[in-house]
């Protein structure tokens, strides 16, 4: 709306200026203004002959005007009313434009002297100079449309706040009305006995201790886990967090695109300059790092050592490539080519050069070693000891042959706790990498760095899981990790510039090798305290990790570290299945028992009956036996089996769909008795039946199963799939378990048949108000201060398990 106003203001002024040209001509006509008016009236007089009254008034006016006074009194303008005479309003100059001079003419002499007029004049002149045409103001329809849109957006925003509530209601299994009923169950001890206070000195002492350690004095109303959950799920914080993440993502994408663009630049000079700058910065930073963060410096050194190894492995810079060969041919004649080759070789030498510590430093370190650990003196002295120390921490990547045979015990101790240490040192690490990577550390980089750190933390947690996992699980995880996007800032940077930077990096490495010596001693000194610090920090971590988990992100992190309980369960399940295998052979045997071929020919086992041939047979019994013999004889002739097979064949025939013969005798040929229907005609009008569905008893020779459809059952069956289901199997499975009390215990029945909506008789059900919905979401954040700080990281995770699961599933 503000915009519109501005437009209109802009518009008004120039319109006046443009019209000011015509001002002079108009002034002349000003004199004959009144006579004209008269004429108009008279003209109208002629036209309106019908209205008598009007005529009369006009006549009176005309007469009065004829009188002495020349000037006619202008009709007075009164307040706006419904009945405004169309003659009272003067329409003179309606089509003409307003001229600036008209406005100025009213300015008095006094104001002219003030200077304010001159000012406006100047402004007007300025305005006159501007000739740019301006846009038309928006049409009525368009403004209305915009207004409508804005209104709609506002309204939809208002309405969409209810969306989650509505979805929740729709999904809820049971709705209980009225809302916010107080539970009628007995309250817990802690809630009831609030007036209890410490009285005895012992109690007081105990509670003093508890208070000092910030422990909950009563049984906490909310567990730390729940608190964490509630905290994590606070709406505002979640929104904030989300916005933050969005920003980070956006920045990341910007950065990525920037990096992409820069990488695409083909200018060699540009890259050279950049790399040089980078190298310089790196060197500078490294030197700083040696002082401030020796551990990190060690890592860098390690990296360089690796570079050296790689260089030794490869044929790069050995003048054996295609390029080198071509240069070798040229070298005879071309000095430049020779120099290039020389440069390559020099580079190779530099890179493969093993740094030797300077003599006095060497001696010093040796001396220290002697003091600390005599075994170390036997080892390869060419490599600085500090490097070897670090190699204990970093198992992978380093050459195992170059490792020291005896690893320092402190390092060994530190090893299992390495993860904790690394996580602790990560912020600084990221900061350092940021400094090394970019010339000036921008905010976005810092943000991205943070992002990367979180990712890394999560990754380490996953690795932990992997250790605990069984093999199959492990594979899965690793594949996931590989598949997942690794956008951590440092990694991305190294990868993108790797190719170009290769040489320069290596050059830098060779320079840095010289620093080894200087570092060696310092590192040695720092190593021991560092280890102790690590342990100390561990302890502090254990005890002091009672900070609140506030954000979603953090909560997620927590859960993820905790999710490694799952594999254990899985392994248990696997064990159970192992037990289940015992049943497998049994099943197999049963399958063997049912043999198709042995239907009637199956050999019968005779059973040894203990009471054979009763000593005294009753006459009746005898008669019975005789009777059976007679019956047997009677049936001896009947071939029961053959009869059965015949019947079966008959049934099969009957159930087969038959061909339909549609030939009409006498059509297209002579008809009558004894006239056979022509073959081609019969062929044409014979409708072949579709192939019959295989019978259920086709593999059971001694069984006839009726193929007739039982429609009485079908009337009770579901014939159309109900809504959310996509295939019958889903639906069938969903109704597979019965609900009735015949099959279920009472508790289960009550739950299974719980009504969708429960209302309290006689209670008024108010419509859902905003307070009910919105306040309930805010409360977790505002909840009165619980008497303990949030628990450990792990505890938070336990509460958040389900979400973590979902996350994983999505991956």
């Amino acid at each position: 709306m503000v915009k519109d106003k501005k437009k209109s203001v802009k518009f008004d002024l120039p319109s006046k200026t443009t019209t000011s040209r015509t001002m002079d001509e108009e002034l002349e006509s000003d004199e004959d203004f009144l006579p004209d008016n008269e004429n108009i009236i008279s003209a109208s007089e002629d036209e309106d002959a019908s209205g008598d009254e009007r005529k009369h008034t006009k006549l009176l006016e005309a007469i009065s005007s004829l009188g002495g006074k020349r000037r006619k009194k202008l009709a007075e303008r009164s307040e706006a009313s419904l009945q405004v005479s169309e003659f009272a309003v003067n329409a003179e100059g309606a089509g003409e434009k307003v001229v600036l001079s008209d406005l100025l003419s009213s300015a008095t002499e006094a104001s002219r002297t003030d200077g304010s007029l001159t000012k406006t004049q100047k402004q007007l002149k300025n305005l006159e100079k501007r000739h740019a045409t301006l846009e038309l103001p928006l049409s009525h329809q368009q403004t209305e449309k915009i207004q409508r849109e804005a209104a709609f957006q506002k309204a939809s925003k208002e309405v969409s706040r209810w969306e989650s509530t509505i979805i929740l209601q729709q999904r809820a299994e049971q709705l209980v009305f009225p809302l916010n009923q107080q539970p009628n169950r007995p309250r817990r001890m802690e809630q009831v006995v609030t007036s209890w206070k410490t009285q005895t000195p012992l109690e007081q002492e105990v509670f003093a201790v508890l208070h000092a350690h910030r422990q909950p004095t009563l049984d906490p109303v909310l567990t730390p886990v729940e608190e964490a959950q509630l905290q994590a799920m606070s709406l505002e914080e979640a929104q904030l967090r989300r916005a933050e993440l969005q920003k980070a993502r956006a920045l990341q994408s910007y950065y990525e695109s920037k990096a992409k663009r820069e990488r695409k630049i083909k200018s060699k000079k540009y890259h050279k300059v950049q790399q040089k700058a980078k190298r310089k910065a790196f060197l500078k930073q490294f030197e700083e790092m040696c002082k401030s963060d020796p551990e990190r410096a060690m890592e860098e050194l390690q990296k360089m050592e690796k570079n050296r190894i790689e260089e030794r492995m490869s044929l790069k810079h050995q003048n054996s490539g295609k390029w080198a060969k071509s240069k070798a041919i040229m070298a005879k004649y071309d000095l430049g080519a020779r120099q290039d080759m020389q440069e390559q070789l020099e580079l190779n030498r530099q890179l493969t050069h093993k740094p030797l510590p300077s003599a006095e430093l060497h001696g010093d370190s040796d001396h220290d070693d002697d003091n600390n650990d005599p075994t170390l003196t036997n080892d390869d002295q060419t490599l600085p000891d500090i490097a070897n120390d670090a190699s204990a921490n970093q198992k992978e990547g380093a050459n195992p042959w170059m490792k020291m045979t005896a690893v320092m015990p402190t390092a060994m101790e530190a090893e299992p706790k390495s993860i904790v240490v690394t996580t602790d040192s990560e912020p600084t690490e990221v900061a350092a990498s940021g400094g090394g990577g970019g010339d000036a550390e921008t905010e976005e980089e810092r943000l991205l760095g943070e992002f990367a750190r979180r990712r890394q933390l999560r990754k380490t947690n996953e690795e932990e899981e992997e250790e605990a996992d069984e093999e199959a699980r492990q594979k899965d995880e690793s594949s996931q990790a590989a598949g997942g996007p690794s956008i951590s800032f440092t990694i991305a940077e190294t990868s993108e510039e790797e190719e170009e930077e290769d040489q320069m990096d290596e050059a830098a490495a060779s320079e840095l090798n010289a620093l080894f010596g200087r570092l060696a001693k310092q590192g040695q000194q720092d190593a021991a305290p560092l280890a102790t610090v690590g342990v100390a920090s561990m302890d502090t971590l254990l005890d002091e990790d009672t900070t609140r988990v506030r954000t979603l992100e953090e909560a997620e992190l927590l859960t993820e570290t905790h999710s490694d309980t799952a594999p254990m369960v899985e392994s248990e399940a696997a064990a159970a299945s192992g037990h289940g295998n015992k049943h497998a052979p049994k099943v197999k045997r049963r399958q063997k028992i049912i043999d198709l071929e042995q239907v009637l020919t199956k050999q019968a086992k005779s059973i040894r009956v203990p009471m054979t041939a009763p000593a005294v047979e009753d006459a009746e019994d005898e008669a019975l036996d005789e009777q059976t013999d007679v019956i047997r004889e009677a049936f001896a002739g009947d071939d029961v089996v053959l009869d059965f097979l015949k019947e079966k064949r008959k049934q099969e025939e009957a159930s087969k769909p038959k061909d339909v013969d549609l030939t009409l005798p006498g059509w297209g040929q002579w008809g009558g008795l004894g006239v056979p229907v022509k073959k081609h005609k019969r062929r044409r009008f014979l409708k072949k039946a579709p192939p019959s569905v295989p019978r259920k008893d086709r593999k059971l020779p001694a069984v006839i199963i009726s193929e007739k459809r039982d429609s009485s059952v079908a009337t009770h069956q579901v014939s159309q799939l109900p809504f959310p289901f996509e295939n019958p199997a889903q639906f069938e499975r969903s109704i597979r378990s019965p609900l009735g009390s015949t099959w279920n215990p009472e508790l289960a029945v009550r739950k299974l048949t719980a009504p969708r909506i429960v209302t309290k008789a006689g209670a008024i059900i108010q419509p859902l108000s905003k307070d009910d919905v919105m306040s309930s979401k805010k409360t977790p954040g505002k909840r009165g201060a619980p008497d303990l700080l949030l628990g450990n990281v792990e505890q938070g995770k336990a509460g958040h398990r389900p979400t973590a699961k979902r996350k994983k599933h999505k991956k």
Partner: protein
Amino acid sequence: MAATMEAASTKSHVGKKGKPPKRYWDNPTEDSENSHVNKKNRQDGESDSNQGNITAVSPNKELVTEKQNKNRQSKTNHISGSKDPFPGEAPIPQERLKKFQRGEKSQVTSGLRSKLKEAIKRSEAESELAQKQAARFDLLLPEDAGFLEGDEDEDTCTISQDDIADAVDITSGAKYFNLHLSQFGPYRLDYSKAGRHLILGGKRGHVTCIEWQSKQLVSEINVMETVNDVKWLHNEDMFAVAQKKWLHIYDSKGVELHCIRKFNDVLSMEFLPYHFLLATASATGFLQYLDVSVGKEVVCINAKLGRLGVMTQNPQNAIIHMGHPNGIVSLWSPNQKEPLVKMLCHQGGVRSVAVDKTGTYMVTSGLDKKLKVYDIRAFKPLQSYFLPAGAACLSLSQRGLLAAATGDIVQVYRDVLGTPVTKPYMAHRVRGGITGLSYCPHEDVLGVGHSDGFTSMIVPGAGEPNFDAMDVNPVGSLKQRREWEVKALLEKIQPELICLDPSQLGRVDHASWEQRHEERVKILGYDPLAQEKFKPRMRKKGRSSSGAVEKRKKKVAHEDQREVIRKTVEENLGKQKELKKEKATLAAQGQRSALDRFKK
């Protein structure tokens, strides 16, 4: 749940990660002790989470979950500082869970609609809850059946009933008794569903009703007619007697309630308790169903298989099995006029059929002196035995003990269904040819009706020791029995629902619309969608002469058919035109005139 999870998870990480902050209620020594317990319970913790999912959700979900969590918390943490050594719910063994598993679980895959996912999840959770609850309450069925065990080198079948009766307690020993009723010839018998009452029907008209455990005679009558079969109806108040001519129904006092003349020459009967149907098989070859709740004949089927004397029911699906003289066993439902299945089981006539409680096995015996065991889900033979004397009567107990009557000897077989046996578990000789054999439900008792009366013998391990008092209550009071009757009537299953595979009701009907319409027409007796026939209006002044009416009819005749024909003709014409056009264009392309080359 949260609490249990917490406890479980913290322990597993002690080695690698930081410990949780110390709480004053934590007992440091417990850690090592509880670790294995926690491991065990972890599964439960998870399952509990599922259980939590399906609890009622009020609109503001957070509040509810909060409440739940609070409750759980209160369970685990006590002010005293002591800790529950077995947090969470008691674990349920996998085998027991498996016992109550119903069908396959459906998996929630990624590509599903959210609503469908929700529905599947919900139903899964529900069925899991039901399964778990059932498994949990399985604990309440503590009775276990034991079997007779002989000394070394002693066959259990040589142990006489007297020995058993002496060995067991007095009340159990009293369950072995003989009734010498030699006057009225071979007896048929039937136990009531609860197993308290016994009815005996002598061939020569003697019908008696006994409360056999207390040996009280409830009533005794002589119907002065041949009695072919006797059967209890849904409770102990009424029983049906198949007499020489008609079917009669008496009450427990022996008062004749009904004489049903539609049911004549009945030879054997079966009562389907959940359907309130009395199925009868007659000498004239008819299978009839009587609905005893309303007293109407449901269906009368001519089996066309000769005299029907051998009959039994499948307790699982209420299908009637009948044995025939030509060695065939046929399966019947009241909804089809032809047998659902016909199986050729024996070379000679079928003498007796029995089906086990689960509806898995059928045992038949025939004149060829063979005893055969079938799997009636697949209709395949499992075992075949040769009995030298042949078995006249068969009966399967609730726990799968087979009783076979060979002459005057009752043999009881154990595990006859799955594994081949060589000798009986028990044997007992009675004083006459056996004509009736029936196990008493929920008791280790086998009733034998023979020509010299009745023998009740003890068969350890025969009856199901755990009874469902909601279904049948052997110790129910009068009031409870009355209430049960009302409930049973309310839950009566209609005869239309009887089918070979009861799970078919839980499946989607794949039949086409036409098929269903056809069936509907058959049921209704008319086609509800059929068009009305044209009836010419009555006109006056001689214009409604028969000739005029016919003319008018002819005008309208085949109106709809004409429409169809018109349409098809139009379509055909259109097609022909198109063909012509195509041909013309083809021709135009193919036959180019000499001047076409100058065209551009």
